[in-house]
Symmetry: C2
Subunit: 230 residues, 2 copies
DNA sequence: TAATTACTGTGTACGATAGACACAGTTCGA
DNA sequence: TCGAACTGTGTCTATCGTACACAGTAATTA
């Protein structure tokens, strides 16, 4: 029962207790998290090591273990810190609210691409992350959807944002753009094995609409259900 | 230019050349990949190390480097091998085809949960993986959608499948189910900060419909667009 | 047949990683 | 004033990916 998940939960949810005795701590959890975020932002999550973060703060790596049980928990705190608070709900209908929510979430992933790596797999959500979910569910209040349906809609939207953020990272600026050239090369050589793909890539009217396209489809699909309920 | 991505591309796309001279190889790429898949299936991607895979095959870890340039490429081959070929397209309308496609893809992720970890981030797709994309795009032939739109729809659907597979892993059977208990505990303590979530979880009619819910919403959204075109 | 050449798997070595543990210095409460 | 609680540090181990030299093997060539 007392495994790593509960340790993470305690770290993310329980209030920090200040030590009564002993020397003043040089650091605090927030500063450590920010240092880690700095490294991850500029060099990726793989570059985040205890050594690296500690060096950034002018301390030995072992000092960090006074604040964090292990690296996994450090990353969890980094995630919770990097996700800024969800935006204030806009005064519109459910569609406008969800639209704004999705765009704000996309901005978070855009600012910290490593969040995609750090938030994969089963894990404990912190209060800030749960706050985002709360906002999405709240945005659907008064639509006639049941509780589980509102949850499912939020999950669906989150999935789209994540998926497109990942896509953006692969085809975005920087050295990764070379991946596109590689794919083009492969399609030129083996294109005959993928006729539908070749055709689809050929008539490229306006590109990079995947984000708007998916968002509109999802909201349209929700609208069908909501209208049906009314 | 000659970086790791091109090495992966060569490994995945170019035909294997057999050595003219020298001792008979004890292994082949396929066996190595299967060994890695076996480890990943039972103990997760984190348990896949060169040592572990080599031991599984009765060889030293260094022997693997005769077949694979490095671990990253090994994982790429594992991915390409674990994703079985896409299913034969069913004889139905676009909606039936996409529906079947999505369910088949979900089964792949269900059988190899580590694929979620291994397919994150910018990377080179192999022929099998690209074959899946091809099938999804082909399923939308004759719908009046443009090429890019068909691509975007495929990406949207893939994102949903991935997202829900991840969700399933977190709340699925096994020791991870404890995460749900942890979340419930947190909601009991801090529930007042998340009123909409609390309400949504309270009136839980039928649970675990997120997969069907999302799929239906996406297909409905696509239907709106397709009908609009006609 | 003998020598050459290309390829195989192995053993050793190195740097980087996460983390356990003992220790000395620091601060507050008794 | 003394001891308890806490701090950051130095040392140590196990594990990881991988570079490199080496000896054995099989086909090609002389």
């Amino acid at each position: 029962m007392n495994d790593e998940h509960t340790a993470t939960a305690r770290l993310l949810w329980e209030p920090r207790t200040t030590a009564a005795r002993g020397p003043k701590p040089t650091l605090d959890l927030e500063r450590i998290a920010r240092a880690g975020i700095g490294v991850a932002d500029s060099e990726g999550l793989a570059a985040v090591s205890m050594q690296r973060v500690a060096a950034q703060l002018g301390v030995t790596k072992m000092a960090l273990y006074r604040y964090v049980p292990g690296k996994a928990e450090l990353v969890a705190v980094m995630v919770e810190t990097a996700i800024s608070d969800p935006p204030e709900p806009v005064e519109q209908d459910w569609r406008g609210r969800l639209d704004a929510w999705a765009r704000a979430l996309a901005e978070v992933f855009d600012g910290h691409p490593w969040l995609l790596d750090a938030t994969i797999g089963p894990r404990v959500m912190g209060p800030v992350e749960l706050g985002w979910l709360e906002r999405a569910v709240a945005a659907l209040d008064g639509t006639g959807l049941t509780g589980p349906e509102r949850m499912d809609a939020a999950v669906l939207l989150t999935g789209h944002v994540r998926s497109l953020a990942q896509q953006a990272r692969a085809s975005g600026p920087g050295a990764e753009a070379q991946l596109g050239a590689l794919l083009a090369e492969l399609m030129r050589t083996h294109g005959s094995r993928f006729p539908a793909l070749t055709a689809a890539l050929a008539d490229s009217g306006g590109r990079d609409q995947a984000w708007e396209f998916g968002l509109r489809r999802i909201l349209d699909g929700l609208a069908v259900l909501i209208d049906d309920r009314a």
